[in-house]
C-alpha cells in the first residue's frame, strides 16, 4: 500500500513537472498580452509530431539532437504565428475575442493537418532513457527521472531568462506595466511575439516529453489545453508562481484520482477542485504576477 502511494506521488510529480512547464507558458502569454491562445494544445501536438518526424529521419537517433532542432523550429513557428496572425488583430477593437477566434481556427486547422499528414492513428516516441534503478524499495525508471529533470530544467532556464536577460526583463516590464514599458522604449510588438514564441517552445517541449508516455494523436492537444487552462485559472491568471504550484497540485490530484477511482474521473475531479477554488477565491491561488 505505502509503496503504491509513493508510486502515485512520483507519477504525480512527473506529470506535474511537465504541466508546470506548459502552464507557465500559457500564463506567460496571458500575463504579458492578456490574450488567450486556443491553439496552445495544438502546439503541444506539434512538438510531438516534430519529434516523431525527426526520429523518422534515419540520421537522428537521440533526444539531444531532437531538442536542438525542435526548439528553434518551435521558436520560429511561434514567433511568426504571432507576427502574422495575432499582431494584426491587436490594433482592432475587441481584439481579445478576435485573438481567441483566430487561435481556435488555427487549432482546428493544425489538428486537421496532423490528421491528413500523419493519419489518425496514435504515434509514439522512443523512451528518452531506457531501464530503471532501485531506490530502497522503489523502482524508478530513468525515463521518468529524465522527463522530470528536463521539465524542471526548462522552467529554471525560463526563470533565468526572465530575471537575467534584457529581453526577459522587458517581458516582465510589459506584463507589469505596458505604459511604463513604452515610456522606457521597449518595443512592445517584439515582446509580444517573443513571448508567444517562448510559450510555443515550452508547450512543444512538453509535447515531446509526454508523448513518450501517452502517444501523439491529432486531437490530443485539447486535453492539454484544458488542463493548462485549468492550472492557469487555478493558480491565478498571469501568476507564474501560482501556475507552478497549481501544476503540481493538479498532477498529484490526477495521479491520486486516477489510481483510486480510475482515469475517467480525473478531469471531473479537476474541474470540481477548480470550481470550488474559484468559488472561494475567484482570483485563483495567487492572482498576481510573481
Amino acid at each position: 500500500m505505502l509503496i503504491e502511494i509513493i508510486d502515485v506521488i512520483i507519477s504525480g510529480l512527473i506529470n506535474g513537472s511537465v504541466y508546470a512547464l506548459m502552464a507557465v507558458g500559457l500564463t506567460l502569454i496571458y500575463g504579458v498580452s492578456k490574450a488567450f491562445n486556443f491553439a496552445y494544445g495544438s502546439f503541444y501536438s506539434m512538438g510531438g509530431y516534430i519529434a516523431f518526424l525527426l526520429f523518422g529521419a534515419s540520421f537522428i537517433n537521440n533526444y539531444l539532437v531532437v531538442f536542438c532542432l525542435a526548439v528553434p523550429i518551435l521558436l520560429v513557428f511561434g514567433f511568426f504565428i504571432e507576427k502574422f496572425l495575432v499582431a494584426p488583430l491587436r490594433k482592432r477593437d475587441d481584439w481579445e475575442i478576435k485573438v481567441m477566434m483566430i487561435t481556435l481556427g488555427l487549432a482546428l486547422f493544425l489538428d486537421n493537418s496532423y490528421q491528413v499528414v500523419f493519419g489518425a492513428r496514435m504515434k509514439s516516441l522512443p523512451s528518452i532513457l531506457e531501464g530503471s534503478f532501485e531506490l530502497g524499495e522503489f523502482i524508478l525508471s530513468y525515463q521518468d527521472v529524465g522527463i522530470f529533470i528536463l521539465s524542471i530544467g526548462g522552467i529554471l532556464i525560463f526563470r533565468w531568462f526572465l530575471n537575467n536577460t534584457r529581453t526577459g526583463m522587458s517581458v516582465r516590464a510589459v506584463a507589469q506595466n505596458p505604459a511604463g514599458a513604452q515610456i522606457v522604449g521597449i518595443p512592445k510588438d517584439f515582446v509580444f511575439a517573443a513571448t508567444f514564441a517562448i510559450s510555443t517552445v515550452m508547450v512543444g517541449m512538453g509535447g515531446i516529453l509526454l508523448a513518450q508516455k501517452y502517444f501523439i494523436t491529432p486531437t490530443g492537444g485539447w486535453d492539454i489545453l484544458v488542463k493548462a487552462w485549468v492550472i492557469t485559472a487555478f493558480g491565478g491568471m498571469g501568476s507564474i508562481k501560482g501556475s507552478l504550484y497549481a501544476a503540481f497540485i493538479v498532477g498529484m490530484l490526477e495521479a491520486f484520482v486516477g489510481w483510486y477511482f480510475g482515469m475517467t474521473w480525473t478531469l471531473i475531479a479537476l474541474f470540481a477542485v477548480l470550481l470550488t477554488t474559484l468559488a472561494i477565491r475567484p482570483q485563483g491561488l495567487m492572482g498576481k504576477w510573481g
Binding site: 526583463m169 516582465r172 511604463g180 514599458a181 522606457v184
Partner: protein, 234 residues
C-alpha cells in the same frame, strides 16, 4: 532643439490639442502651465511618441520626428517622465533603473549613468533591492526621474513632478531639475506647484483648452496679473 508646429492630437475622436506650437532651445528649461485636463500631458506625450493620433510637425534638432514611436525616440535621446510614474511595481529599484537604460544608445552608458543617478539620489542607492511597489510616493517619484535619466536623454519631458509629493520634497525636486539641466539636458516640464521651478524657466507657456494662450519669459509671466494669480500662486 525641439520645435512643435501646429500640433493637433486626438484620443479616439476627442480633439485634445489644437494647433499647438512651441519651441524649446538647447540647454533650456521650459515650463508649461495651465489648468488640469487641458492637454499639458498630451503635449509632452506627443513629443515623446506616446500618442497615436497626432498631426502637425514635431522636429528634433531639425529632424522631423512626427509619428515616430517612443522606442525610436528614446533611442534618439527623447524621454518622458510620467506624472503617475509608471514604474514596474514587482521589480527592484535596480531593475527599474536598468530598464530605463533599455534603448540601444543608453546601454553603453548604463554603468556611468547608474553612478550619476545614485549620486543624485543617494536614497535609491541604499534601496537598490527594494521593490518599487513598496516605496513611498516621494521615493517612487525620485525613482521615476532617475529611471528617465538612465536613458541617457538629451531632452526630458517631465510631467508634474510634484504630484503626490510632500511639500518638503518640492525643494528637492527643483534642486534636481536644476542639477540635471546644468549637466546639459534640455527640459520641458509641466509644473505649477513649485515656484522654484518656474524661477528656473527660460520660457513659460500656458496651455488652456488645448491651445497655447501665453508664451513669454518668466518676467513677462510674472507681470501678467491673471497668470500670476491663477497659475503661479503668487
Amino acid at each position: 532643439m525641439i520645435k512643435v508646429q501646429d500640433l493637433n492630437a486626438f484620443y479616439d475622436d476627442f480633439h485634445v490639442l489644437k494647433n499647438v506650437s512651441l519651441e524649446v532651445g538647447k540647454g533650456q528649461v521650459v515650463v508649461m502651465l495651465g489648468p488640469n485636463g487641458h492637454g499639458k500631458s498630451t503635449v509632452l506625450k506627443s513629443i515623446c511618441g506616446l500618442v497615436d493620433k497626432v498631426s502637425g510637425i514635431i522636429s528634433y534638432n531639425l529632424e522631423n520626428i512626427t509619428g515616430k514611436g517612443s522606442e525610436k525616440l528614446v533611442n534618439q535621446g527623447i524621454t518622458y517622465i510620467a506624472e503617475n510614474r509608471e514604474l514596474f511595481p514587482e521589480m527592484s529599484v535596480l531593475e527599474n533603473l536598468k530598464l530605463g537604460a533599455y534603448s540601444m544608445s543608453a546601454r553603453p552608458h548604463e554603468k556611468k549613468n547608474l553612478e550619476k543617478v545614485f549620486s543624485l539620489f543617494p536614497r535609491l542607492a541604499d534601496r537598490q533591492t527594494q521593490l518599487a511597489s513598496t516605496m513611498s510616493g516621494g521615493e517612487a517619484r525620485m525613482l521615476a526621474i532617475a529611471r528617465g535619466l538612465m536613458s541617457n536623454a538629451k531632452f526630458l519631458a517631465i510631467d508634474e513632478p510634484s504630484l503626490g509629493l510632500q511639500p518638503n520634497l518640492r525643494d528637492e525636486v527643483a534642486r534636481i531639475i536644476k542639477e540635471i539641466n546644468s549637466q546639459g539636458i534640455t527640459i520641458l516640464v509641466v509644473e505649477q506647484n513649485i515656484p522654484q521651478i518656474t524661477e528656473l524657466a527660460d520660457k513659460i507657456y500656458v496651455l488652456e483648452e488645448g491651445s497655447i494662450s501665453f508664451e513669454g519669459s518668466k518676467e513677462e509671466a510674472l507681470g501678467n496679473d491673471h497668470l500670476k494669480e491663477i497659475f503661479l500662486g503668487m
